[in-house]
Amino acid sequence: MIANLLHPGKIIAITTLALAPLGAWAQGFANLGSTAEDFTAPRPGVDLIFPNDHAAHPDYRIEWWYLTANLKTAAGEDLGIQWTLFRSALAPSEVDGWQSPQIWMGHAAVTTKSDHRFSERIGRGGTGQAGISAAPFSAWIDDWEITSSDATLDELTVKARGQSFSYNLHLRTDAPLILHGDAGYSVKSADGQASYYYAQPAYEVSGTITLPQGPVAVTGAAWLDREWSSQPLAEDQDGWDWFSLRLDDGAKLMGFVLRGERGDFTSGTWITPDGTAQPLAPGAFNAAPRAWSQVEGRQVPTSWQVSLPERDLNITVDALNPQAWMGVSFPYWEGPVQVSGSHSGVGYLEMTGY
């Protein structure tokens, strides 16, 4: 999954509006698409080492811990949750206290067919308000957290709370981590922009979601994405459509379209039911909008035709709730989807730059 924060046009609009203190950080991000300056750049052929790489990489400009889950209530109602922690560095270092150039941002959301609630947290590294610890694993900002009792990501507790919602979920898996791209080195453009990218797409979830009408028990499946980079965008790329799909036959598909002036760049990973990752060649993954919805004053494609000819896959991906707009400092669309066609299933869709 690639950042939803990087669209320069949006960022400038936010800066002028100055809606939130964060709005102003905007330009700190805006140059992400150009140079990496003093930051470390991802290189191919580097082995990811765990649990170290679960923790933060302050010398890279941007990084995230990105969890989405497709859940069901006992009554059979579909819903989805999002828990994301972003790290953005103004300088490639970490120091204690207020001097820290590391900025952390959390996004949490609960989406049902008719309801979408979200919240945002912002904090600075160095003070302890937000951060990551590797052993035992913990990622937190304020009282939102993902914690593990050990250094692995196999068993996690996830908590977040907004003004009108909260959730407390337990995640468990035996499946191995998935390394996207070339052993975790994931190329993002024809110019060679890349990131380190791995995932745990096979959690079983149980827990409680509290909405204004009261707490409700939920079960389902979750997908955790980990990615870091210093220059993840080509200059001409201005938006993303990212899919994480969990098919009923046990296979999973991660695919993305990077929309650029010089044409789209698509890539992804096919994950077999036994948990083997098979990287897709650029262009193998196809996604085209089928229908658009009016969302927060803009047109957003909330129904997609997705095909992967090499796997005989030709599916329709529909948003559970087309109004799943994340109206945070850097607004984007993120919500649960339902899959039909040659395969069926559920998943998550993220769209930026609309």
């Binding site: 206290g97 302890g128 304020d142």
Partner: protein
């Protein structure tokens, strides 16, 4: 109804001048009131805008009894889910200037958008705020103090001398790494959070979350209360005009009312017509008044802003915005005022409509019985005012005392005039004089209200004038004492200061360096000066209260002198202990006046200061010329020997002159309002003289018929008016002095924290007396001229149409 109203209003067609005066009077009163309101709301909006955009308007803050809070406590709150924002506040020595530095977390501070807007206007962004060299924000007038600091950004919402930076910079500048002054509780907390008492039992909640940002609001509150009181007084004086005119209008329409009643118009309809008439008058005058008031406010605002800036350092923009609330409140005020002033007219009208045949004169005659009502009301008001002064603390009590006394005294005026005229009638023998006095007494009910207005206006003029002049005299004296040296040298470093001291020693001159540090008490900034032992201090330094051997106690025993404001605010007296900094407590040996300074101040011996405090700076060195050397020569030699630019060496007299100029500017507005109030009172007088006019013809005609010529009558008319003015002035004088006393000894103490001695200015009274006479003469001139030019036929006609 329509016809009744039409008939009713047609009266004004016959009396256009009266209508004009009525509208003008009401408009003028509204204008003064609304001008003051516009100025006040503009100033308040300026402060509120600043606090809202930058601070924490209405937010609760968590503070620690220990002083500062460790950053870990902030993180503890955050980790518990509380949405909070940290602030570190302290005094920062930027070169030679002590500034209040607010350190905030640029990611969570409610005022951050204003910071970023200011930064992005310079093409800078978040990383410039958070990463070295980092930005510092300041009011445009404070930027020159940050010359050495290259990354300073103008932010007009800040009060002057308060600068803002991200915590990452502020904690370093203030040398308080990891420490916080307070933690703001942000709005919109998530539900179900643990109690604060559980997470941070050591912190207490405080409503005052703005710290230095709220200083302008806190400091200027009393100034605005003063302005409001003045505006309200003018408004009341204006209402006297309305009252007189409207009541007269009813009196004059006795015939019309009788006719309408005979035609079958009900009393209710007539009362409705009167109501509509008053409403129309109020709205027309109100709109006119608002227009004039707006213009007046625009005219006065630059001076007021200058005052506020000069006196308190409060940022008020010099331009006026039209606020709908202001327009509406102005109109409501005028309508209510007109209603109150017209209440008597309703009563009169009702009486008239019900009893159609009673003589107008009899009902208007003043009796001893009606005097008792005046006396009673007056006694109640004065007693209430006195009780308020004794029982209600603060400015409110002071103003209640002023209001009660002024109104009570004004109500005394008619009985006094009545008693005087009755006494005169007992003494006078000449028929013409007896007639004049008796006739005047008959007129009392009609004009006593406007005479009351005149009384109030004159008393206010004397009171405020005495206050300002006493203040000025005290100020002049004080500033001379506070600047005992002959010349002052501005220095930017201790090295230069030492050079000057050395030079003084070699040249037989004396140097008085002003060493100081800046601290802060709970409520306000505190500046502490360290002075050398020079005989000039012992002879010149003004003291209000002192222990025996005060100077020995200062120089030998480490005692402190504190300013009157600080003493009053903290309730301290000579002999008490005071904590100058968290770890420095000492005894107060004396209290000195420090006029015009909103902040606290203290003076200790330089040796004490050096022993107890760090970060001492020096900004000015006073130099006393050697015997036989003139100040000009001294300054010349200082410049030459020490290679100082001429602007660095300033004559003491120059500083005094500049201070006095600022002082005078401060009271420009007061002066303007004074004159306007007197003008309104003059208008009131003119209105009532004119309104008496038609009623008086039946009384004048017989006198004329008995051989007193019209010019003679006119002269008598003028004389009478002057006599009224003289009596009013004589009564206003003690009242004005009482007002002055209350302003100096009660209001000033509450508002500014200093009590001023009262001086008397008989010359001023003489000038005011002359002005009162002129106002009275002008007011009676028009009726007198009319009388002179009146055709005998009109006077004869009185007999023909006598009822």
């Amino acid at each position: 109804m329509k016809h009744a109203l039409y008939c009713f209003l047609s009266h004004w067609r016959r009396a256009p001048l009266q209508l004009l005066l009525l509208i003008a009077g009401l408009a003028l009163a509204t204008a003064l009131w609304s001008a003051v309101q516009a100025i006040n709301s503009e100033a308040r909006a300026s402060y509120a805008r600043a606090v809202e955009q930058l601070g924490a308007a209405q937010l609760t803050a968590l503070t620690s009894p220990e002083g500062t809070i460790p950053v870990e406590t902030y993180v503890r709150l955050r980790r518990a889910g509380w949405q909070v924002s940290p602030v570190l506040e302290g005094t920062w020595q930027a070169d030679q200037n002590a500034l209040t530095l607010l350190g905030v977390d640029a990611l969570s501070y409610p005022g951050a958008p204003a910071m970023f807007q200011a930064a992005s206007a310079r093409g800078l962004d978040l990383s410039d705020v958070l990463t070295p060299p980092r930005l510092i924000f300041a009011h445009p007038t404070t930027l020159p103090d940050l010359m050495a600091f290259e990354r300073s950004i103008p932010l007009p919402q800040l009060p002057p001398r308060v600068v803002l930076a991200d915590l990452s910079l502020a904690e370093r500048l203030l040398d308080q790494p990891g420490r916080l002054s307070r933690i703001l509780i942000l709005p919109n907390q998530p539900k179900g959070l643990p109690d604060l008492a559980e997470i941070v039992p050591e912190l207490r909640q405080s409503q005052n979350s703005d710290g230095a940002l709220a200083d302008p609001q806190r400091l200027t509150r009393s100034f605005h209360l003063n302005l409001t009181a003045f505006g309200f007084l003018s408004f009341c004086v204006g209402l006297f005009i309305v009252q007189g005119s409207v009541t007269l209008g009813i009196e004059q329409r006795r015939g019309t009312i009788r006719t309408l009643r005979c035609l079958g118009v009900s009393t209710a309809t007539l009362l409705q017509a009167l109501f509509l008439e008053l409403l129309i008058l109020a709205l027309v005058s109100g709109v006119l008044g608002l227009v004039i008031g707006y213009a007046l406010a625009a005219l006065l605002l630059p001076d007021v802003s200058a005052t506020l800036r000069g006196l308190y350092g409060a940022p008020v923009e010099g331009s006026l915005t039209l606020r709908p609330t202001w327009v509406i409140s102005g109109l409501v005020m005028t309508s209510l005022g007109t209603g109150a002033a017209g209440a008597q007219a309703f009563v009169a009208m009702r009486r008239m409509a019900n009893a159609l045949s009673r003589s107008p004169v009899a009902s208007a005659r003043m009796t001893w019985r009606s005097q008792r009502i005046f006396l009673g009301a007056s006694a109640v008001l004065i007693a209430a005012g006195y009780l308020a002064l004794k029982l209600v603390p603060g400015l409110i009590g002071g103003f209640a005392f002023l209001g009660g006394t002024l109104l009570g005294a004004a109500l005394l005026l008619p009985p006094i005039l009545f008693a005087m005229s009755s006494a005169l009638l007992g003494v006078l023998r000449a028929p013409l004089w007896r007639w004049l006095v008796a006739d005047s007494r008959l007129q009392l009910p009609g004009i006593s209200l406007s005479l009351m207005a005149l009384l109030l206006a004159v008393a206010t003029n004397i009171g405020v004038g005495t206050m300002v002049s006493s203040f000025r005299l005290t100020f002049l004296d004080w500033i001379e004492q506070r600047l005992p040296a002959d010349a002052y040298v501005e220095v930017t470093s201790a090295t230069t200061a030492n050079q000057i001291m050395e030079w003084a020693m070699q040249n037989d001159a004396r140097a008085l360096p002003q060493y100081r540090i800046d601290s802060r008490t709970d409520s306000a900034p505190l500046r502490i000066y360290g002075i050398v032992d020079d005989p000039l201090y012992r002879t010149h330094w003004p003291l209000l209260e002192a222990e025996a051997r005060v100077w020995d106690r200062i120089y030998d025993e480490g005692a402190v002198l504190i300013s009157e404001q600080l003493a009053r605010r903290e309730g301290l007296q000579t002999g008490d202990q005071i904590a100058l900094t968290p770890d420095w407590t000492t005894q107060i040996a004396g209290i000195y006046p420090d006029y015009g300074n909103p902040d606290g101040q203290a003076v200790v011996a330089l040796s004490t200061l050096q022993a107890r405090a760090s970060g001492i700076t020096v900004s000015r060195v006073g130099v006393v010329a050697p015997p036989g050397v003139s100040t000009a020569d001294l300054m010349q030699r200082l410049r030459q020997d020490l290679n100082l630019t001429s602007d660095k060496v300033v004559e003491a007299e120059m500083i005094q002159r500049a201070s006095v100029a600022i002082f005078d500017r401060t009271f420009v507005v007061t002066g303007a309002l004074n004159i306007l109030t007197l003008g309104v009172a003059g208008f009131a007088l003119l209105t009532s003289f004119l309104s008496q006019w038609s009623k008086r013809l039946p009384h004048l005609a017989p006198v004329w018929a008995m051989g007193i010529t019209r010019p003679q009558l006119a002269r008598l008319e003028l004389m009478r008016s002057l006599a009224f003015a003289v009596v009013t002035f004589v009564l206003a004088l003690p009242l004005g002095l009482l007002l002055a006393w209350a302003l100096l000894a009660v209001i000033n103490v509450e508002a500014f924290g200093w009590r001023l001695p009262m001086y008397l200015f008989p010359m001023e009274w003489g000038r005011l007396f002359a002005m009162t006479l002129i106002v009275a003469a002008l007011a009676s001139l028009l009726p007198a001229l009319r009388l002179m030019r009146m055709s005998p036929a009109t006077l004869l006609g009185v007999f023909a149409s006598d009822r």
